[in-house]
Subunit: 317 residues, 6 copies
């Protein structure tokens, strides 16, 4: 359990604390002796570190990717903080609290989940309510569903982000399905709930958010199709057409081939799912980005993926 | 005033009715005598017609684009209806009821306008309320605003379509601005109200919907900027930043250069305006399209602009 | 069972023969009486037809898409053959020989299948041999696998086309895996065998080749993933990594997002599968196209999808 | 030698005149007898024609693509002119005046050529003057250079069009090379003269403008490179760098890969050549297009390649 | 007023000089004491600097973006010049000569402006001459018009660049309008003069060239439309069609949507304006780029925006 | 002749060895004295180096791009090897063994060439055999053909790479031409042999692989066309159509305009050449890339040109 985080460290601090050992590289001084360059991280950021003594022993006992306990002192090098490390040893899994190392949603995960569950219980079609009942009673699924991020970098890129994103979309879908006549609310909300469940397996999110092998090779779209198919098979008499339409919503939710969907949305509900997903992702991505930027500036720095600066306006605004 | 419409005509009908003379071409029979091929239209569709007698007189008294009174009889040629025209004369402007010739919204225009007005009165910022007050008290503006279509072909392509589209977006914007924290509701709703006003001058919509010269040469985006600027100048003390942000929402509402916006959305409200516009346009475009298609088919025909067939599902659905 | 085909018909011929009733439209003569315009087809082409008598009875007894028996006489209208139909009645399923109506591979389906089977038995990994054993002993699968086309229009667009395409690719893959060192032959050949199996359900191919609802909504890529996953579950101890790599080959075989693959090929075998698929499809598409063209011309007509004319060279060549 | 052209024909005219037999198709009447549908053309347009009598004889004596003498009478069919042909025989090459069948520049070809020659004589570098001397004294080259079109459809698509386009560009290049300092006028003007000479072989333009086999297979860019290289080899001591820069201008003159240049312009003169070419082609393409359109309309019809309507303005303008 | 510029500084120099304080970052030495890393700039370039003493006082008295007076000594660090700063204080606006800090055109601004004015007086249409008369007598406009750059980075990115670019284009337009018949010279030259005037407000260019808020949010195209509209309103009887055509030239001058024009050029003069703009921008961009490159090299370094190396040729050339 | 290579150097080593002097930059210490920063390279990699003494003399005697003999000692700076250079002098051409400085194919060049020659002798058409006879008896050609790389960076980017790539393709073409019926084996294999010969002049590859001026300005496609044309001219009676088809294969072998071919493949053999080229280039590019990567990792680093990570799988695989 951590008590001090990287964002709080100041030159002069002495500490013994857990970090993720993000990078570890052996280097050589002019006199031929070796030393270690490290990058340590936790959920608040990263810090450079060096090991001058006991280099070989420390190098052999630890591996990059692990959580380690580090004893050392914070200094400064070229205008940046740098830790000089005296001791560093790996930490066993039980001693680790993953939320120390990964940013997490600020909202209550259980409350969000309960709201989502209630929405699923409001569906009119028995088979759909049964389908989500089957998901919610699958403990392994629920545990991962509450933890999974919605992305590695872009939006909701934190523990609980997928749940937060799914709930936000579901509430919007509920409102919008009333706004337009002729929308199949059951279908739209079910599509929202299922569209990204493949992300439970597309990412790893124990002490860092990254793609899993399966995520990189098979994509969350195909994983989601399989997860949905598997659960549908457990519901007897599930209508074939509904199954097909749900899978269509998963496969088409990116909107076009260029964005990763082999088929574009071909029902009005699939079109709406795509629009709601895009709005929620973009709004949240921009808000996440603005939050991290210098609050004194009217314009954000350049957003590489969205390819523009954003305007935050005069301070008084 | 029309009593019978093209969709109601059957072979054998005799009639004397107003139509738009959409096309008029002189042709020649094998014996060298000339005749006229016509296309007539009203808000329910088009019909082919021929003039065999009094050809020169009829040809010289009418011009394509005009509304004409036609006396004749409906027959059939190559499996399609065809009218044989005996007399055809131009109609003076006073005798014309434009709604006979152009499809119109099925909703009550005045009621829609009142709802929009009320939304504009709910804005918190005085200057914005004053701005819309100035628009609503400009009679020429309001008259056109209630009639303008939102497009020539794609979505809301009928009299009153712009008002219908704007109101639908404003109601959605209102709902969504509550859903997310940190949204400037005043700005978002004002942007929705203004984003397409350039369409009042981009189209002509007297007896047919078409682009105006100004629309083709200057685009509704630039026209809208000028109309907004002109009205803002009449409001003393209108904040410069707000003026700039409103114009930004107009110029960026298509979302990207490829889609016709010289600048992409750079505020969170402009991003949301673009998302809401896209959703409302697409949902309505697809519903308009599905309505026109054969209700017995599970799939629509190919939609050229959206490049796909849409699925309407099993009849029982 | 048909004895005469559309390509053999000549003006003056009388006949009573089966055709697919591809189109059926009611039309009206000048005198107000109705008649029927038809399009009839079989595996050799299409012919226009008209029904002048007993129109209502004939119209009510048949549906477009059905196979019908037609009695009538071949004439000529505007320079094209036209059949005047006297009688037309629907045909029951047992009387139909589907190969009369759909073009089919010219090669022996059973021989092709045996060769493919042998190739699958040459794989070194037990689990893969078991997997294909499971497919080959699934009769419903094999029946469809021997009949499915590889496309609706482009290449191998005929009964047995998928098998022909898969075998051609597998033989090439076998040769090429020897050419390069370090290729996992088992993986490459298995990927070839599985990459398009989703097409068994993407198309319907009873008396016409068209997309199925599932094909249009879910795509052969996602269907193929599910079919593979389902079979793999029946093989105990099937290695997880191999399963993932097979599914990767299915999902990536179009090469890029623009071409419909959510993930690009990320193993050397997936890259090769994509190359071999592209070569075999293109070579066959061009040969199919050249075959249909006028043999006296040095250049083919314009190929719309490949966007060019092809050169066939001087006759003597 | 023709005396009457298609644009002058009126129903009732009898004539015996040369035309290009552009299309010839055998057709059948209801009674089983055959007739011929023809399309005839000359430099003023096209006309449909039919042969009712002596069909077999006429069909066997003529081939599409040939110039024929036709005796017949002009009538009208479905509102379009149609010629009923009594006799039609092929014409020998000596009797043909190609300018009867292909549209040609309205300017004096010899005068244009002399002006171009003079410009080439104004170059400062001896080797370049020698190079063009070699071209101008190659009679086969000059004959074709004076006749070649600059395109099949787009701009300057008529006999002498390439010369007209090249001269217009050369005069512009001369003016512009004075406007900017630091431009190598010799290089720029030489590049203009050579950039399109591959078109002499890319097109055939005897009685119709079409692509040659070599044009379709090798492209005017590669042909132009070879023609330039061949001539340079005849000039002793021609500087290697200059040769390379001239070939660069030929290969890069379309400006980018997407437009057909394997390399983009990499010298300031090549950049200017590309700009001047684009301006001259577009201005002329739009003027050619406007000329053909209805002078009473303020807007042209839709230009498919340039993807827009053009505005010609109020008549009084 | 500056006497020494960054490009002239050498290690060992002592100086007290004005610079723009482009960057200012607080840093910490290993002993915990703080120091300042600076970047200073003037119109000849940039230099790194450090402050070791009086750090807090100096940091609090100055802000990045300001012009400051710096007292210090030039040294060298890691092979680059570095200034050690002893004192640094902000400078009041009156003491600043902006041309010290921003690169400027090498040509005489007043002479260029007079030439442009004369061209505008040569227009035939009274209303157009009046329009430009109104612009030239608007002092605030003229002051900014003489100073504005044409771009931030690409071409004419210096004080007076817009005037230089506009004049160059106007002279070219004058020449080219003679070259082609049927060009409306008045319209073309007026379009050239107006096409970029929105850049007066799109950029800020006091001591650095950057985008203004209005520039980023509204774009120079929409600003230019408003500036033109505002001036036209002051000319009584200005023809509506001419106003529309001028605005069309502004809005379409980038040539296509992808390049930022909501409408493509739809008159022959708008097409020519786009061509001339492209030629002048590219030629100047490449010349600016070549000038900055090592004169001893035959090839320039890679140009990121134009995506190529440029060839400057053998030295003797 | 080198005895030690950069990949073998360790801190503490003293040596006197040849290297390519890749970069040379003068720098200044704080005391005002100058020193040299160098980058040295050989076929195994690059090393940084510094010269502290005799700086001016050493700087004036050597030029970047040259091969030099260096005397010095290996140390370490910031965790990377760095050589401190005592003496450095240029080396005359005779003393240089180019294979010391450029990576080369691991296969026997002469054996590969013999295999290729035999393949060319297996062609059935006399004129084609004669053409390759002419190439093989052109010693300057053969010398360069055995040395040329196939690319600067992507695939086969080493001495002998072009020969290796050409041979691999030719063997594949041979196999594949048997697989499909109706392929002109002579044409396909000849096209393979010729398609990249322009690379002999597109690159320079004495002590470093780079583009030649001609390569950058004229492209290997146009160079290859000229080389082929020149050789064909020496074969009397070479069929024109064959010449045209060979040149077509050279010009179209990149497959599309976007990839640098002015014309796409328009014969079945040209289509196959393009497919085989793509497969061989990609397979080899990925294998080259995987080889350089850390063998302990399951995924490669990001491949910038192919825009993905590649999966190498579990170690045991």
């Amino acid at each position: 359990m951590k008590t001090r985080f990287i964002s709080q460290l100041r030159p002069g601090d002495s500490l013994a604390e857990q970090f993720v050992l993000t990078e570890k590289t052996m280097a050589h001084k002019k006199d031929g002796n070796s030393y270690l360059n490290l990058v340590l991280s936790d959920r608040t950021g990263r810090i450079d570190a060096v090991v001058w003594d006991n280099v070989d022993q420390i190098a052999s006992q630890t591996e990059s990717g692990q959580v380690v306990v580090v004893r050392g002192q914070v200094g400064s090098y070229r205008g940046k903080h740098q830790m000089v490390v005296k001791e560093m040893t790996a930490v066993s899994a039980q001693e680790i609290n993953p939320t120390d190392f990964l940013p997490a949603t600020e909202r209550d995960t259980d409350q969000m989940f309960e709201r989502l569950k209630k929405l699923s219980e409001s569906l009119q079609q028995d088979h759909l309510r049964d389908l989500f009942g089957a998901f919610w009673s699958d403990e392994a699924f629920v545990t991962r569903f509450k933890r999974a991020p919605a992305a590695k970098k872009m939006h909701h890129a934190y523990i609980g982000g997928l749940l937060e994103h799914t709930l936000s979309m579901a509430v919007l879908a509920d409102k919008i399905s009333e706004h337009y006549s002729g929308i199949d609310r059951d279908l739209l909300i079910s599509g929202v709930l299922l569209h990204d469940i493949g992300k439970l397996r597309e990412y790893t999110y124990d002490v860092a958010i990254d793609y899993s092998d399966e995520g990189r090779l098979v994509s969350h779209i195909a994983i989601g199709i399989q997860m949905t198919e598997d659960k549908i098979k457990t519901i007897s008499g599930f209508p074939e057409e509904t199954a097909m339409l749900l899978k269509h919503m998963i496969i088409s939710h990116h909107g076009s081939r260029e964005l990763g969907s082999p088929e574009p949305p071909k029902t009005i509900e699939a079109v709406m799912l795509n629009c709601i997903d895009e709005m929620d992702s973009r709004v949240q991505a921009i808000r996440d980005f603005m939050t991290k930027e210098d609050p004194g500036e009217m314009w954000t720095s350049y957003h590489r993926l969205l390819e523009r600066h954003f305007y935050r306006g005069r301070p008084a605004r």
